[in-house]
């Protein structure tokens, strides 16, 4: 049967036509076998062009469409839907990339770029000739979302998911929820306190009976496909019973003989083996830190009803339709000696300093020395020229300035020196910077190639800076405390990127598909990212992304069913001799052995098959193909490229 294919060659404004002679391309492909019409268009993606293509398909009974424009990453779905609206099967559409992989890559050689476009389009036409209509599989989805990480982003997402009617599993690695926010004290921009905000979230969570909280829980396995995932979760024993009601808790705290560094206070204080991350931590019962507990039994003696040292590690399987990763950040830990950190007592990170402020009563002192002068050194662990962290951590300028405003408010007599590179109080945060300047805070600017030097000066520490704002003059400050304004790094998460197969960027944060088009989606369909695990953010921005991920997860699961990509393996049962190679190579358990007409053959479970094609080259009898990438299509494309081009 003679085919009736429509070919559209896009100018993309001038992005293509400035380098590729689109008229010549049209001439060269319009008489190809199977082509019914070939047109050039200024913007193939524009609404009017889409309408024109639909009209062409309907008026001329076209049975295949090729659009040569940009990368299929941008517009494959756009034009598949054009085909669909015109009554074609979306898979009878072929996208040819003549922009990223032609006009732009070969903008130095228009003649060759034009030839390449012709060859690529001919390949596309061949593919369109061989393409078969494919129908997506519709599968039911599970009404449930796993939120991994119980900080502010995860807690907020849980509430919103619950309100849209989805069941939520909130999985937190630590024994307590809240993440980093309770460590912070007053938050920019409302001055609400971190632990109050977490309390607000927690109270909302416990009101909702479709949210299940797992603390001390880590994901160790992940399988299945979008809409039907299975998570293996390991839960550490807490050794404290749920109905903990021990009147002697204070006494236990005193008598527990184990003392370890308190990570909540970044090592400024010690805690016991039985602990709460902070006094009003949630859930409101303490936990026993299994690694450090010596099993001395003192606590159990005092409150036998409240403890259970026979608790074992639990494992459970959760079935969910989608996953949101909200694994958060850790403050950058300066290297030994970096701006005197770890070397001099009076050098702290901003996060430690905020804990110090929280722990102080009445007056601010450190190592029993009253604090009067503070030097804040900015961009520690961010914007590194030689180090790994090239990125800006976004929240730290505002955080440091907000801190110095709080200092002024609480202690009035403290003088703050800010040693910065650029002050990045973007948007309304600028007001804080203005207020800080009004307060008399002193700002000194240094260049990345000439960072401040922190060194010993008698009993004190001195900070020397070549201040750009006063013509590079060297200024020496003798502060009582040096505060390193450290940035964000992704929080250690036990290798979740490997478990979920979600890529991370050069900055080691989770990678979104596209910062504008799909900012909370990952390459794994149904797995979303939100909060600071995706990149540095302040709390407001964290919540924006958290709620955005809810919007996406809810869109995915709201209808109860899901259409799956029909690009899966297909087996020619006549050829199949069941050698088992395909079954062995498949990591998705998508292949089963079946007896058919007296012989054993392989069959594909389409709900599990991901269409990777690993089974294709290992098949001894050449019985497997991937739909959309069949031999006929690939070989046809090769022929299309190789056909001679007249100059």
């Amino acid at each position: 049967m003679k085919r009736r294919i429509g070919v559209y060659i896009c100018h993309c404004g001038g992005n293509i036509s400035d380098y590729v002679d689109v008229k010549k391309v049209r001439e060269a492909v319009k008489d190809e076998e199977g082509v019914f019409l070939a047109k050039t268009t200024v913007f193939a993606c524009s609404d009017s062009s889409q309408k024109e293509i639909i009209a062409d398909i309907q008026e001329n009974n076209l049975d295949g469409i090729v659009v040569a424009s940009c990368s299929p990453k941008l517009h494959l779905h756009t034009f598949r839907s054009v085909a669909e609206r015109a009554g074609l099967n979306p898979y009878e559409y072929v996208q040819v990339n003549i922009r990223e992989q032609d006009s732009w890559a070969h903008s130095d050689n228009p003649e060759k770029a034009t030839e390449k476009a012709i060859r690529l389009i001919r390949a596309g036409i061949k593919r369109a000739i061989e393409a078969k209509p494919l129908t997506p599989n519709e599968i039911p989805v599970i009404n449930g979302v796993a939120v991994i990480g119980g900080g502010a982003a995860g807690m907020r997402a849980a509430i919103e998911l619950s309100d849209t009617g989805l069941n939520v599993y909130l999985i937190e690695k630590e024994h307590f929820l809240g993440g980093r926010i309770p460590q912070w004290g007053e938050l920019f921009e409302t001055n609400e306190r971190g632990e109050v905000l977490i309390e607000r979230l927690y109270k909302e969570i416990v009101k909702r009976n479709n949210i299940k909280i797992f603390t001390g829980a880590e994901v160790e396995s992940f399988s299945g496909c979008v809409g039907n995932f299975e998570l293996g979760v390991r839960i550490k024993p807490r050794f404290v019973k749920r109905d903990f009601n021990c009147k002697d808790y204070e006494k236990i705290l005193k008598e527990c003989p184990v003392e370890v560094e308190d990570e909540f206070n970044f090592g400024l204080t010690k805690r016991k083996a039985i602990y709460k991350s902070y006094e009003k931590a949630f859930p409101e019962i303490p936990a026993i830190d299994k690694e450090n507990c010596t099993r001395c039994g003192i606590c159990e003696k005092l409150c036998p009803e409240s403890f259970d040292f026979n608790q074992k590690e639990e494992k459970l399987n959760l079935r969910v339709g989608a996953v949101i990763l909200t694994t958060g950040f850790s403050p950058y830990e300066p290297k030994e000696g970096e701006f005197g950190y770890g070397k001099f007592n009076s050098v702290l990170t901003l996060q430690q300093f905020r804990r110090l402020m929280e722990l102080s009563n009445g007056e601010l002192s450190y190592n029993s020395k009253k604090i009067k002068n503070i030097a804040f050194i900015y961009c520690v662990g961010s914007r590194q020229k030689d180090g790994e962290n090239k990125y800006c951590s976004r929240y730290c300028c505002t955080a440091a300035i907000h801190t110095s405003l709080l200092l002024k408010e609480k202690y009035n007599d403290i003088k703050s020196y800010h040693l910065f590179r650029d002050i990045r109080t973007y948007g309304k945060q600028e007001i804080l910077y203005r207020d800080s300047c009004k307060n008399g805070d002193i700002y000194l600017k240094f260049d990345e190639s000439n960072p401040p030097i922190v060194e010993k000066n008698g009993v004190d520490v001195s900070v020397k800076i070549k201040d750009i704002l006063t013509d590079g003059e060297e200024i020496e400050i003798i502060p009582d405390l040096v505060v390193l304004v450290t940035g964000m790094i992704p929080r250690e998460n036990g290798g979740l990127e490997k478990i979920f197969k979600v890529p991370v960027g050069r900055d080691k944060f989770f990678s979104e598909i596209h910062p504008k088009l799909r900012p909370v989606e990952t390459v794994i369909n149904g797995v979303y990212i939100a909060g600071t695990g995706q990149g540095p953010k302040n709390l407001t921005e964290t919540i924006l992304s958290s709620l955005s991920s809810v919007a996406k997860a809810y869109s995915l699961l709201s209808s109860g069913t899901l259409k799956l990509e029909p690009i899966v393996a297909i087996i020619d049962e006549e050829k199949c001799e069941w050698c088992g190679n395909c079954d062995e190579v498949c990591v998705y358990d998508a292949i089963e052995k079946k007896s058919e007409n007296g012989k054993e053959v392989a069959v594909i479970n389409e709900a599990l098959c991901k269409g990777c094609g690993s089974c294709v080259p290992v098949c001894e009898s050449r019985a497997i193909e991937i739909k959309g990438y069949t031999n006929k299509e690939i070989l046809g494309m090769i022929d299309g490229i190789l056909k001679e081009v007249n100059r």
Binding site: D47, T78, L187, S382, S546, L547, S558
Partner: protein, 430 residues
Amino acid sequence: MFHLEYDVMVVGGGIAGQETALNLADMGFKVIIIEKEASIGGKMILLSKVFPTLDCASCIATPKMSETMRHENIEVLSYSEVMSIERIDKKFKVKILKKPKYVREDLCTGCQECEANCPVNVEDQFNFGLVGRRAAYIPFSTAIPKTAVIDIENCVLCGVCERVCPANAIDFTQEPETYTLKVKAVVLATGFNLFPARKKPQYGFGKFPNVMDAMEMDRLLSPTRPYNAVVRPLDGKIPENIAYVLCTGSRDITAGNPICSQICCMYSIKQAQLLMGALPLADITIYYIDIRAFGKGFEEFYQQAKDMGVQFVKGKVAKIEEIKETGNLIVRYEDIEGSGGVKEAEHDLVVLSVGMLSNPEAAGMFKFETLELDEFNYVKQVDPLLNPAKTNLKGVFAAGTATGPKDIPDSILSAGAASAEVAAYIRSIK
């Protein structure tokens, strides 16, 4: 044509409004978008490329616009304005004014015959006055809906368009129409206004031809650009030495806008990179106070511009003067990083990196209740930390730059947040 009841009304069809509408529509809600211009798209569709990925703005925005337009759960009313919003029980009664386009949208094919034959020439608002347009015109080449509109204020009523229109779509008898809708929730995605560069008279915008604002430059760099080249407005000469003046009308109490606009550093760096590509011989100097490259990939983008040879000079520009003979400009600035003091430099083109101002018009829409604005006239977020889309009015939410300066990625996230909050709200009132 369209129904009179919807779940959600989104006011504004820019990128934030579209994203909100698409999210809600994908969840199964019925949405109506009210857009005051003749096309949806807002400001983003007019841009060249966008930072930090350098995707062309049209390539991202056009598919979204066309998806918005054809989504079965979304209705778009363009060239329409919200006259009033009145709360009745748990719903809102909304009055909409649809301005006459004098073109029947159901018949117009966007062939542009009327435009080609219209004798009137006026300033093109979508090209920020860089070029002219006709009185019968299509807003811009990627407009959606791509139908013509007649600008009746400038129309001379010659009737040529009516005669040449092959689809018989011109209809001078159209009158303004009003509709009353019922909706359960309102999302304000009313966007921002550009800072008018004329409000900084010391920079000479509007007086010296070779001083332009950054939006004009973005138009010159965009694929749908008016001249297909980057040229000086005065003489069409290819510029060789271009200056950017950051913080024009931002962080500036004297200009009435003390806050930072959040986008100007980055779009200036983007334009500088694009200019380096378009005009490899040109020198580009960016006068800045602080470079605020704070988002994901932004700092790397800034460093890349430095490596490409863009000059960054820390200095506040005090005044710009023109050299009469050449049309070149003397930029007088306070040199902070060098030897200090006031310095002068000559450039043949100056781009003013203008910031964002709030668009408070949403406040005027509500009947019998008051929408709270913040001290900068943006829509006030009553719980910015946990419910960022919430306003002081129950059932009324805000997305995008309606609540404060934002770049495109942040606008999209805020639209996502607004849609989740709206979805939960509508379920709660059922």
